[in-house]
């Protein structure tokens, strides 16, 4: 009996089905041989891909598509965090303020979100000096002293005092790490 040559698209379908139902390896091999021998031009692609099982191919494709969408999304939603991972240089700054009449002195500024309860200054015993240590990262910070929770005072020894929008002033501290920029300065 003369063997009938199947049309090209039928051969493709048959081969795809064999792969999908995970037919025995011997059947797949036989089909592969037949396709190669009869030279079905449209089957070349499917032969080439047939090395990877269909389900695995679908998963790989789905994962790639998902990554293509989620990676930019993740960057978008975490854009405020990215780029700030490197540890900042921290400085420990000791503030000293002289006032003999005050009962409490607090230091408030950009570095503690202007929170008067955050940095209480301690009076050095038997002196009129108040002191506090603040940890700050590189930056420019406005600050001032709050005396007895009501009176605003500038740092008398600050080199820079900046006007605010409310008719008062704040002292300014500038902490810049120049170690990397020495050559350009």
């Amino acid at each position: 009996m003369k063997k009938r040559k199947l049309p090209d698209h039928d051969m493709v379908r048959l081969f795809a089905k064999a792969t999908r139902i995970e037919a025995p390896e011997s059947v797949v091999r036989k089909l592969r041989k037949k396709i190669a021998a009869e030279g079905h031009p449209a089957s070349t692609n499917i032969l080439r891909r047939s090395g990877v099982p269909l389900l695995r191919r679908q998963v790989i494709l789905a994962v790639i598509l998902t990554l293509l969408i989620t990676v930019p999304l993740t960057f978008f939603y975490t854009r405020h965090i990215t780029g700030k991972h490197a540890p900042a240089t921290n400085y420990v700054v000791r503030f000293v303020y002289e006032n003999g009449d005050a009962h409490t002195v607090q230091i408030v500024g950009d570095f503690n979100a202007w929170n008067s309860e955050q940095t209480e200054m301690i009076r050095i015993p038997n002196t009129d000096l108040w002191t506090a240590e603040v940890v700050m990262s590189e930056g420019l910070y406005r600050y001032g002293f709050l005396i007895d929770n009501s009176q605003w005072a500038l740092d008398p020894i600050a080199k820079i005092n900046v006007k605010d929008d409310f008719g008062k002033e704040s002292s300014l501290i500038m902490l810049l790490d120049e170690t990397e920029d020495r050559k350009n300065l």
Partner: protein
């Protein structure tokens, strides 16, 4: 086959994106419940939810928002006012401007006892100032430093300089000179610091701006420029007029030489200071010129302070 791929893709997409969106809602809920706890009287949580979520979505950190709300609570700020502030911060962030400058302006106003109306007015003017400062900073292409963005630092420095009465024109000129002479952002920030110090010494902005500009144009190093405040303070103590000091420094700059005045400790500034670190540049790094009541020590650094 195509349907299978599509279904798997949708499933994975949902699995990955759900926590992302849920995270944002969770943060909003956390802030809202925190606010409800802080406010003694009942508040309209739904009205606050939108602005808080908006601020989070714009990239303002949960910590900053919580701190901001907390400060407002302590000061007894009305909830409507708080919503207005939050929306203002979000819109600044959406515009690509640093919202912390807006936030700090509000908090500074609250601590100094400014009224809601005064704060609102200041936000209007400060927004255009921040926009201008940001535009200039972006031109300088500051690189990311250890944990800090140089552009943000420069924006803050420019913003403070503007608050000292320096005109936008002066800052534009300085910026152009710095760019023209291929100086770094940190050089620009140091120049601004000197400008602010000169202002705090009581010098005229109209004179100090052009003085620094000409020093930059003559390619002087920052060590030279940093010596200006010291020269002014010592010479003024000796009774020499500001105008005379300005004239002398200008002459020195034009003749490309170091300041001819003697410094307070008796050592004289001499020699060309353009190509090497000059006597005025012996200040320790980090810049601690404006931390007078303090010793600024560098820490080991792990995260922001």
């Amino acid at each position: 086959m195509k349907y299978h791929t599509f279904y798997i893709f949708i499933c994975i997409l949902i699995c990955i994106t759900t926590p992302l969106f849920a995270g944002s809602t969770e943060k909003t809920d956390a802030i809202i419940s925190y606010t409800e706890e802080l406010y003694t009287e009942s508040i309209d949580s739904d009205a606050l939810r939108g602005p808080v979520k908006g601020a989070l979505n714009e990239g303002i950190s949960q910590e900053s928002i919580t701190r901001f709300i907390s400060a407002n609570m302590q000061a007894g700020v009305e909830i409507e006012e708080l919503i207005f502030y939050l929306e203002n911060m979000s819109s600044a962030e959406a515009e690509g401007l640093p919202s912390y400058l807006v936030m700090n302006t509000i908090l500074e106003g609250i601590v100094k006892g400014a009224t809601g109306e005064e704060i609102r007015t200041s936000l209007l003017t400060s927004r255009s100032q921040i926009r201008f400062c940001n535009e200039i900073s972006v031109r300088h292409k500051g690189r990311a430093r250890r944990g800090t963005d140089e552009t943000f630092l420069l924006t803050t420095a420019l913003y403070n300089t503007l608050h000292m009465g320096f005109t936008e024109n002066t800052l534009e000129q300085l910026s152009s000179s710095v760019l023209e002479h291929q100086r770094s952002s940190i050089f620009f920030m140091n120049s601004l610091e000197v400008l602010m110090e000169l202002h705090s010494l009581g010098l005229e902005n109209e004179q100090s701006g052009p003085l620094i500009n000409s020093a930059i144009n003559m390619d002087y190093r920052i060590g030279y420029i940093r010596s200006f405040p010291k020269i002014f303070s010592t010479q003024m103590k000796r009774g020499i007029s500001q105008d005379d000091i300005f004239a002398s420094l200008k002459e020195d700059i034009e003749l490309s030489r170091a300041p001819s005045f003697e410094s307070g400790n008796g050592s004289s500034y001499s020699g060309n200071n353009r190509s090497s670190e000059g006597p005025g540049s012996d200040r320790a790094s980090p810049s601690q010129g404006s931390a007078p009541s303090s010793g600024a020590k560098k820490g080991n650094g792990n995260g922001g302070g």
